[in-house]
């Protein structure tokens, strides 16, 4: 009996040890994982601090320097440091609400890069631009002071990496702790009021956000008219028998009516948006399964062209296509008086099993298309040829209107040329002054071309 009793006691002890070990093991793992994460966050914080300090110093140098050559280096390094600071900020667990800080850093970099480009093309930075740079420097210095204040708490691991959600703290009775999210949130609020508005030629310029659509010509239309337009536009057989259901209306950049059209068998479904102003089809999608491909790329492109012609787009030319599975998406742009108008693009998707148009997207066209008075090119084609490196074999030269990063438009000569017969480039030469504005490399895949 005694033996049994001690067996039970030993058994219980062993169990206790095993359980204890398991618990220790688990909490150890969790603690390690938590520490790793804490280390990541701290690294991001100190990296933000470091890059922000560098930014301040480089901005100061740029302002002090009188050498445009030196400033090209300073300003491009500002861009680099601002991007690094932005990346560090992305990695902090402070929620998604530090949008002003994010944008602020993105804009400093973008603006500095624009100024560097200006210097590189021998244009002087004007007084207004110098003043903006000074304002940005002041803001950066203030940001650094705030970040420095947080160092002791971050270093000792005392700070709470809370999100900015005030409602996320469960215990309302407790006084709110100083959290990194909260502190950075205050910095963000202040930037919102104090950061300068920046308008320049770059993708993050403030004017880009407020672009309004130019292609919504025509009167406002009624809902019943929109239904007819939707049904008439889509490419399905037996469309009269499709049921049509009104969906929630998008109220954004292009206010529209939205519909889902279903075939009687419910096998096919097309979603379509029709603009309220002018009754233009903005886009449609038919996500049906596309079976074995039996149609050639060339046939599919001419089918897409015909589809556009039937719907009133007479002067569109295909500029590129991409095949994904058995769907070919073709990009079309207008060709007006011999000029390729790249901003006004329309995309058309063709199913390669039966040539049906399964996708249409005219958002670009409706935002940018308008009647333009294009300037006469000052350069001749012969002059453009001289500007191209002799190693390149020129295949074609034509006039093209291209969008700049800040959505302005430039009239250029588009030079299609190959290097040693296997690499193809599009080089854009400004038709007014002969500057090389952009160079694109054609990436040829078995399934179509795209540019980088």
């Amino acid at each position: 009996m005694n033996l049994k009793r001690s067996a039970a006691v030993v058994g219980a002890l062993v169990l206790l040890i095993v359980l204890g070990w398991m618990f220790f093991n688990y909490s150890n793992r969790l603690a390690r994982a938590e520490n790793q994460l804490e280390a990541q966050y701290q690294m991001a914080f100190f990296s933000l601090l470091k890059h922000s300090e560098n930014l301040d110093m480089l901005l100061a140098k740029s302002i002090a320097s009188s050498s445009p050559r030196q400033n090209i280096i300073n300003l491009t390094t500002v861009w680099h440091e601002a991007e690094n600071a932005r990346m560090a900020l992305d990695r902090l667990p402070v929620g998604l609400k530090l949008q002003t800080s994010q944008k602020y850093l993105a804009q400093i970099g973008d603006f500095a890069f624009y100024l560097a480009k200006k210097n590189a093309s021998n244009q002087a930075i004007n007084d207004a631009e110098w003043n903006k740079l000074k304002e940005l420097r002041d803001q950066t210095r203030k940001l650094n002071i705030k970040l420095h204040d947080l160092i002791p708490e971050v270093k000792t691991g005392k700070i709470k990496w809370g999100s900015l959600d005030s409602e996320s703290s469960k215990d309302k009775a407790k006084p709110p702790e100083r959290s990194l999210g909260g502190e950075l949130g205050k910095i963000d609020e202040r930037l919102k009021d104090e950061a300068p508005t920046l308008t320049y030629d770059g993708p993050f310029s403030d004017h880009v956000e407020s672009i309004k659509p130019k292609g919504l010509t025509g009167p406002w239309i009624s809902e019943s008219k929109a239904r007819g337009i939707a049904r008439g536009f889509i490419d399905v057989s037996d469309k009269a028998n499709y049921s049509i259901k009104k969906e929630d209306e998008p109220k954004g950049l292009i206010p529209a009516y939205s519909y889902t059209l279903r075939s009687q068998s419910k096998k096919e479904e097309v979603v379509i948006d029709v603009s309220k102003k002018g009754g233009h089809v903005v886009w449609y999608l038919n996500p049906r399964d596309v079976k074995e491909a039996g149609v050639s790329i060339a046939d599919a492109i001419s089918k897409a062209e015909g589809f556009l012609r039937d719907r009133g787009f007479n002067n569109m030319i295909a500029t590129g296509s991409l095949r994904e599975d058995n769907v070919l998406t073709v990009t079309f742009v207008p060709l007006i008086n011999g000029v390729v108008i790249y901003p006004d693009f329309i995309k058309v998707s063709v199913a390669l099993d039966n040539e049906q148009i399964v996708g249409y997207n005219a958002q670009g066209y409706l935002i940018y298309h308008h009647k333009r008075d294009l300037p006469q090119p000052k350069l001749t084609k012969a002059k453009v040829k001289e500007l191209i490196k002799p190693d390149l074999d020129i295949k074609r030269i034509r006039l093209a209107l291209i969008p700049t990063p800040s959505r302005k438009e430039l009239l250029c000569y588009e030079v299609r040329a190959t290097l040693e017969e296997d690499e193809e480039f599009y080089i854009y030469i400004n038709a007014a002054n002969g500057h090389e504005e952009r160079i694109l490399k054609i990436i040829e895949t078995g399934d179509g071309n795209y540019t980088m």
Binding site: A8, D90, G95, K103, A106, F204, E247, L253, K347
Partner: protein, 172 residues
């Protein structure tokens, strides 16, 4: 003695029960710790990425996020979720790569709870990701989406709502 034997048996029984239930809890917890580590590992990978716009290489990651965030949503709603990611990549207010946007801390619930690693995306998810990469944007430039029937931060309701698709609202 009889009593002691009974007591010993009872003790053993309770310990066994405790042992089994604890083991199960332990296993579950270890699993979650693993996914925690995995997530952390993913975040590191983001840091090594350079900048660039959304490209065809991003299809798979986008499709996974659609699978995690918009499972069971109508096709347009899936395209819309992918369009949000692409709009964020192009916005100065968010990271400048698809992986940067997807793995931004606390940005997506399906990343926080590990849902996006749990199952491969469906063909429909992939198709939706491609449509968005090709420029179809049912949200007209929105940067946020949320499910109004779930608890979300009050802040998100201060966004301008552009449209509603399925269970999600999309806002700027």
């Amino acid at each position: 003695m009889q009593n002691f034997r009974k007591f010993g048996k009872k003790l053993l029984y309770w310990f066994l029960l405790f042992f089994v239930s604890f083991s199960i809890t332990y296993l579950v917890m270890t699993k979650s710790a693993d996914s925690f580590l995995k997530k952390y590992g993913q975040e590191r990978a983001v840091y090594a990425q350079g900048d660039g716009r959304a490209t065809a290489d991003d299809v798979h990651l986008l499709a996974r996020l659609i699978s995690g965030e918009a499972r069971g949503e109508p096709y347009t709603g899936q395209v819309a979720v992918a369009a949000i990611i692409i709009n964020r990549v192009e916005s100065p207010k968010f990271p400048s790569t698809v992986s940067g946007v997807v793995y931004q801390p606390h940005a997506f619930e399906s990343v926080s709870n590990g849902e996006i690693w749990r199952q491969p995306p469906s063909d429909e998810n992939i198709k939706a990701a491609r449509a968005a990469l090709n420029g179809w944007d049912p949200t007209y430039g929105c940067l946020f989406f949320w499910n109004p029937s779930k608890p979300v931060s009050k802040w998100i309701w201060t966004r301008q709502i552009i449209r509603k698709i399925g269970n999600h609202v999309f806002g700027k």
